[in-house]
Symmetry: C2
Subunit: 222 residues, 2 copies
DNA sequence: ACCATAAATGACACCCTGTGCCAATGCAAT
DNA sequence: ATTGCATTGGCACAGGGTGTCATTTATGGT
């Protein structure tokens, strides 16, 4: 050290260097899950494949079922930021619709990986169970926004209901998207919101219109 | 037995008599949960308290987290029967609204117990997780009905979405009802449906009307 | 009375997840 | 070299859940 340049936070401040990363464990784990099925892979196997002890795995992920979720907290923050930037003149449901649609727009090259992730999450029973816990954060962000708009506390009935509804739209769209490689997730979600905003119309022709919209190749002339 | 009456299926056809029942295990378990907290009670403790081996517990319930659900499959069947009896001229959402409201009407003397159950289910993380699996059956029944009405397969987008929406209404209502001993569950659920059917109106006065409706003591002059 | 049959129980062994605890490791600064 | 420190790995342990098998407790026939 020549002692001139100040490196107050030199990326590894102190102590023994890490033996792995969240990303590596996640990659190794997802690979094993895809090849052998989620419940046929033990944490021991993942740890071995990553060259790390079982104990260390649990220092990076609180649970085996957290693996497929990546850093979901960050994603949720992204949604919160998006919503906080919405101008006041945009109606509540329109704002949510747009925000949720954009939240689920993934780069073309990441689509397959994302589908695999969600497919696992909404297929494997243990992960389905876990998803409700994870999505609580997401719902909370929606509820906060609705609460601001309606002038109520976040925990009030209507904000929480709006959070549930938005999540319903997303999850229903996920379920359709996962097994259909040609479908477009943002379009599905937008359609879900359209349906929700005209539930009473479904029996009177709206359903047919929406179904036709989904049948089109990709463009979304709404 | 004087030996005259024919009993072709005498309730216990053969073999060693059962040492316990679902109801007994459930009662014993729920009592322990209430006094010590769900996660502080082991299956061993429940089994001991019921005078049965741990192994036998798992012959009656597949999981510790299934205990608070009673015979949910039967409840779901009840909902299915209700819906199948709805005349064709009743609009889709009106039928669901009514059916879900009635499904959640419990006799006055069972209210406290039911609240305790749901409170546990929607409070304890492990049980929250389990709830999604359980409610899948419930959602499926709603989706079946919507599918019939819309002339689509049950697994189509819109029927599944309607199932999600109905569940949202119920769950949001549960969450408000649990910590509020004076609130009325059917009224909350009915209000949730009212809100869902007029989401765009929430910002323009509907929210206030609904909130006021809930503030009233009990009667439901809709 | 006796014996076959059948269903449920209990005991045991086992694997897995998740956690607390502590000594060993590897790197940086002194 | 020594010290400081975060991370690792090993170990023991509680608890959930499952497969297996001998044992128990009834019924029904002879």
């Amino acid at each position: 050290m020549t002692g001139l340049d100040a490196t107050p936070v030199p990326d590894r401040p102190l102590g023994r260097p890490r033996a792995t990363t969240h990303d590596e464990l996640e990659a190794v784990g997802m690979d094993l899950f895809r090849r052998m099925g989620y419940e046929n892979v033990s944490v021991q196997q993942i740890s071995d494949a990553a060259g790390v002890s079982r104990r260390t795995f649990f220092r990076y992920f609180p649970t085996k079922s957290d693996l497929p979720w990546g850093d979901f907290g960050l994603e949720v923050d992204r949604l919160r930021v998006t919503l906080s930037a919405v101008p006041d003149h945009v109606p509540l449901m329109a704002a949510l619709r747009r925000a949720v649609v954009e939240f689920n727009r993934v780069p073309a090259e990441a689509v397959d990986q994302h589908r695999a992730r969600l497919g696992l999450i909404l297929t494997e029973p243990e992960l389905i169970a876990r998803s409700l816990l994870k999505f609580q954060l997401w719902r909370e962000v929606i509820a906060e926004f609705a609460a601001r708009r309606l002038g109520m506390p976040t925990s009030a009935f209507l904000p929480e209901l709006v959070g549930e509804i938005a999540l319903s739209a997303a999850v229903a769209a996920y379920r359709q998207w996962i097994p259909a490689p040609t479908s477009d997730l943002p379009t599905l979600i937008d359609t879900a919101f359209a349906a929700i905003l005209d539930l009473d119309g479904l029996e009177h022709g709206t359903a047919a219109v929406l179904a036709q919209r989904l049948a089109r190749p990709d463009g979304d002339p709404a």
